[in-house]
């Protein structure tokens, strides 16, 4: 059996390792245009921040370890053309600049995603970065250690993690966000609270320019960025810029070859991670996801999902039978002392999906008020008016916000109604939550609101 895997960060590396275990005799080749494989890309902001000194800490498994197990690793080799009828892939070696053809019996596409670059004049400059690969992290850290001011364009998860990193490194930061509030993946009311709370933690170290876009960079004679101009005409100096304006799936070569692309723009897969070609699998950030709540299609590229999908692809291509049912869109991000977390549909997304969302938002102590380290958390809970089904939740606060969201995930997975969820028996002791947890409090209020309406 000859297995070719394209891509090697999370899904690709997992697929390679799992296939190796399941098919000890298969020939497995992994091609990636990256210079590293099998690393924790999510850890790059913490490397930049200096939580550890050696970037190699991020490597989960080295090419040598893979090779020792008989998985051949081909770094800096990009798949440029796929020939499904011939069961071949054309690969370009980026170092030697020559192309060669590779045969496969089973192919795994795990080519991930790449940063979106917004239309900015004079964008190709030194010290203008994106953060995706290990080299990006190394370069950003090196520059940040010698900078006084950084600009972050976009305030999603990576933008906020970088904000924390730069502040910890002593930089002043300007965060530019096109939406009216930062982290617009949350509902607007929650984004607004996040923005206020972040500024209240540390307002003298960074500024947020919201409802604002960057139109142009200024540069010096060395081709280095020196300043930023925005859509409203604002201009400011900066030593470095990181563009965190989202990502898009790397699917062009697959689409050209007739691999079906889903409505979300990522590769269409079934629960076995198979594409429309029976011998081609796709997994990780390049693949479309299914939302468990209503089986709708979505594209939420996250490392934890990529890992699970790589495992499922490996089992199925090895002759096993394993399904990946989909995602809930669960996510968490820390910025300074603030935790933001969500699962399921936001209210705006639920509406777009045809639900009749009803929501409540509560702000409560995260533990009993007399405990010395008590903090607020704000929790929004969303359910469908007609069926009472829980649809999602969002939490923000300096306390245990992610704990409440994870408690919801099991309920969403079990398709519970909000009335059923009010009966949940959550752990209680004064250092951990108030007697009535904010989550149950919100559920109770939501249940009553639905009853009344």
């Amino acid at each position: 059996m000859k297995i070719v895997i394209l891509g090697g960060v999370a899904a690709g590396a997992k697929a390679a390792a799992k296939t190796r275990r399941l098919l000890p005799d298969a020939i497995i080749d992994l091609y990636t245009d990256d210079t590293h494989i099998s690393y924790s890309a999510c850890g790059l902001p913490y490397y930049i921040q200096g939580n550890f000194q050696d970037y190699r800490t991020l490597l989960v498994r080295s090419p040598e370890e893979f090779e020792a197990q008989g998985v051949k690793i081909h770094l800096q080799c990009r798949a440029i053309k796929l020939l499904p009828d011939c069961k071949q892939v054309l690969i370009q070696d980026l170092r030697e600049n020559r192309a060669f053809l590779v045969d496969y019996e089973q192919l795994v596409i795990a080519t991930g995603a790449r940063p979106v670059i917004p239309p900015i004049n004079n964008v190709k400059l030194k010290n203008v970065f994106t953060l995706r690969h290990i080299e990006d992290g190394i370069a950003i850290r090196e520059k940040a250690l010698n900078s006084k001011h950084a600009t972050i364009i976009g305030s999603g998860y990576i933008g906020l993690e970088l904000l924390e990193a730069f502040i910890e490194l002593g930089l002043k930061v300007t965060l530019v966000e096109f939406a009216p509030h930062i982290i617009p993946i949350f509902d607007d009311d929650i984004s607004k609270i996040i923005q206020e709370q972040l500024l209240s933690i540390c307002d003298n170290r960074f500024e947020i320019l919201s409802s604002e876009l960057v139109t142009e960079f200024f540069s010096n004679e060395n081709g280095e960025v020196t300043g930023v101009k925005t859509g409203t005409g604002r201009e400011f100096n900066t030593d470095m810029v990181v563009i965190c304006a989202g990502v898009k799936p790397n699917i062009e070569f697959a689409r050209e070859a007739g691999v079906a692309i889903g409505e979300t723009g990522a590769i269409k897969v079934n629960k076995h991670m198979r594409t429309n070609f029976p011998d081609i699998f796709a997994c990780g950030d390049c693949a479309e996801k299914t939302m468990i709540i209503n089986d709708s299609k979505t594209w939420i590229p996250l490392g934890s999902t990529a890992n699970k999908e790589g495992r499922v692809a490996a089992i199925n291509l090895s002759g096993g039978d394993e399904a990946f049912n989909g995602v809930l869109g669960s996510a968490v991000v820390r910025c300074l002392s603030l935790t933001m977390s969500m699962t399921g549909f936001t209210e705006k997304k639920a509406k777009a999906e045809g639900f009749q969302p009803v929501s409540v938002t509560v702000t409560k102590n995260d533990k009993v008020g007399y405990m010395p380290d008590v903090n607020n958390i704000t929790l929004k809970l969303i359910a469908d008016r007609t069926t009472g089904l829980l649809l999602g939740g969002q939490a923000v606060g300096c306390g245990d916000a992610d704990k409440r969201i994870n408690t919801l995930t099991g309920a969403l997975l079990g398709r519970l109604t909000v009335a059923e969820f009010t009966k949940n028996d959550i752990t209680y002791a004064p250092p951990f939550s108030p007697t009535i947890d904010p989550l149950l409090n919100a559920a109770q209020l939501l249940r009553e609101k639905i009853k009344k309406e």
Copy 2:
């Protein structure tokens, strides 16, 4: 409508407040043999520890606040005889030492539980305490501030919370536990880990005498405890003793009156918190609970449950219709930096209930290994071999152990199988969990174990 409530800590106080809101015109009288009402008994260890200075911080709502809303509060008044046929209760005023009869149309029994005192010779001494009421907490704190050594008998939740409190106050502590390992409500393998981890955190400040019971106290001429003798003949000096050997429900006067007592020894109630008398409700620690997983009867007296039951009793006695489906036995306790948490059935309990439990235990990082504050957590997950149904979990560690247990609660409530639960989408970011959360890792291993067997 004349409503009488007996007991006023958690369930009783909640029932009074909620009934007041639902029935503005009812006459509501609350009788308690306590000197305080509506307080957070769970907070007493933190008062003793000195997290706050004024015990009144523990009061949720004062008698004056209740009175202002028209709920009459009768402190130090104990119900000594119940006459269901006459719809009367005989109350003894403990201060004035006289009894009087009270009429009711609806009665709520929320008389709680009281500490069990093991058979110890010479047990009635000064500086031998139990911890249940506010005066207990005040007396224990006062004595602890003037002591060098304390003995704790029993290592359940309260025993461990007091261990932390005494160590924080600078005392040396001897913890005596009859079982082979501390906190025997957990499975033995987990209790053993808890014991080892606690000792590794701080072994020079306390010792654990397990498989050991206290047979006798020594005292001086002032009637103060001075020492302890154990079943194996060990003797040691001590300045104070707290007996934390469990509690039993205060149900004797109800049983005498013909109120049905369940198999667990607590008052039998239906989902509406009604007893066998249609006009008598019971809630809180004196009432029996239903285990949601298999609808079996259990008695797990916890403050969070008492609150919910008080609310449900109030709604039903006010003419509403609200059910309390039961508990999962979810609990959490902190001792020093260690968190211990559980939900559902332990393996031993599952066996006793007729399940065929299969379990796995994993010890993993609670977040990604390169984060500066990474800690271990040990997680045990239990499912039924025949049906694959999740039965429970236990977690211990210096990291976010309770978070994993709460994530399980929604799944237990939704009666998910372990195979279904492996599909859960838990939040991930390096400060919060590894890419594959220990909970999903354990679920995956458990699923494979069940498949193989």
